[in-house]
């Protein structure tokens, strides 16, 4: 197994451990907990090849399913769509070229899609009588602004850390 896959796995599991621990302790203040997994998905989608980004997103989504309140599949669906969207938007730039305006745009996109996509998925599941729908207003609140700022700060931190990973092609 090459180093890239090992680092890929370690980064994913560490992000998941931090996020799940934070949610467990600070669950009543969700808007202050950065979305480590999805930020990692976005960073990989900017910097890496498409297959690697896609499968990281799939794995991150599956980790998110373990503690999700949505019908199964919502987190995988939203992580994969976020990865594909980010990859499509950022084809002409590299991670080093992501400055504040682009980073802010990506983080806003991530923050909004991370609520909107599971809502749409849950709505579809409700239409098929597999789950109950969730009121739209429950997912969107002024607290998202705080989440956006915190996500942006963590984005730069993760962005800096990921640059140390080896960049050999593995797919």
């Amino acid at each position: 197994m090459n180093k890239r896959i090992i680092y890929f796995t370690i980064f994913l599991l560490v992000s998941f451990a931090i996020q799940s621990a934070a949610v467990q302790v600070f669950g009543d203040r969700t808007n202050f907990i950065p979305q480590f997994l999805l930020l990692l998905v976005v960073i990989y989608a900017v910097d890496r090849e498409f297959p690697e980004s896609l499968w990281l997103a799939f794995a991150a989504g599956f980790c998110g399913e373990l503690f999700s309140g949505f019908y199964f599949g919502a987190q995988i669906f939203s992580a994969v769509v976020i990865a594909i969207t980010t990859y499509a938007i950022t084809r002409k730039i590299t991670l080093c070229e992501v400055k504040l305006p682009m980073a802010a745009f990506l983080v806003i996109l991530l923050t909004v899609l991370s609520r909107l996509l599971p809502f749409i998925y849950q709505l579809l599941a409700a239409r098929l009588s597999l789950a109950r729908s969730i009121p739209f207003g429950d997912l969107f609140s002024p607290g998202l602004l705080i989440l956006f700022v915190i996500n942006l700060l963590v984005f730069f931190g993760l962005n800096f850390s990921v640059r140390f990973l080896p960049n050999e092609k593995s797919f």
């Binding site: 934070a22 309140g69 597999l130």
Partner: protein
């Protein structure tokens, strides 16, 4: 490009397989194992974050310590007096029961469980606890906090975990009565954000701060479990019934340990 589409197609097929497995319940053991493994592996981080939160709470609350101390001292004095009265009433109750030959009321069996996850993005989302069918938990079991306060109901079980729907969910209704027994109504959740005591007859006088308990008429929940206290009364003369918002007796967003009640 074709390589990308190939990977998307494979991911789509895998996603469909997982959805199907989940639908038939074959994914439950894997998800259970994942949750328990995650709980085990993030335990050190949970400890660190808990200490950080406690430290932050201490620092944040320093300014209010003197005021809180006074309030708590008054509450302790009041509760001590109430406790003495309750103990006296309990002793009299026991004496009268023995005199009349009544048997002791049966107690419920309780299964202690930890809340291992919550999806904070969705206020109405169910919590996950680390007890499941293998531990005797069943769908429909009531769940209380260690203080004896009703917090919700089990809606789904797997072998080792279960999903707990909180009473603040709009999908749960509880037949309720005030502690004095004067007023009956139905407690409903408000989309995960609060509790509402509904269907209170017009003309009933509702006291702010009065306790609300589960009534004897509820088939789903044990009777006389504390739910909360009356917070605000919403009475419109043009409506058939009054309503009152309730303050839950425990912080439902910060549950750690809960007890599943087995009948």
């Amino acid at each position: 490009m074709s390589n990308n589409l190939f990977h998307i197609a494979i991911a789509g097929i895998l996603f469909s397989v997982l959805i199907a497995m989940n639908f038939f319940g074959w994914l439950s053991p894997i998800l259970d194992a994942g949750r328990l493994a995650a709980r085990f592996s993030n335990y050190p981080l949970v400890k660190i974050f808990t200490k950080t939160r406690e430290l932050g709470g201490i620092v944040w609350n320093l300014k209010d310590l003197a005021v809180q101390n006074t309030i708590l001292s008054q509450q302790v004095a009041q509760l001590s007096a109430e406790l003495a009265e309750a103990q006296k009433a309990g002793a009299e109750n026991q004496t009268l029961r023995e005199a009349l030959g009544l048997t002791r009321r049966s107690r419920y069996a309780l299964i202690a469980a930890d809340v291992i996850s919550r999806d904070g993005a969705v206020p109405e989302a169910a919590l996950t606890i680390n007890r499941g069918a293998n531990h005797g938990v069943s769908v429909g079991d009531a769940v209380v906090a260690p203080e004896g306060v009703l917090v919700g109901m089990i809606i789904e079980t797997t072998s080792n975990t279960s999903k707990l729907e909180l009473i603040t969910s709009s999908r749960i209704s509880v037949n309720a009565v005030t502690s004095t027994g004067r007023i009956t109504g139905v407690v409903k959740g408000e989309h995960g954000l609060g509790l509402l005591l509904d269907l209170i007859p017009q003309g009933e006088s509702i006291a702010i701060g009065e306790s609300v308990l589960t009534s004897d008429q509820s088939d789903l929940f044990p009777s006389r479990l504390l739910i909360g206290k009356i917070g605000e009364v919403r009475a419109a003369p043009s409506e058939l019934f009054q309503r009152a918002s309730l303050v839950p007796a425990v912080n439902l967003r910060n549950l750690g340990i809960v007890l599943v009640v087995k009948k």
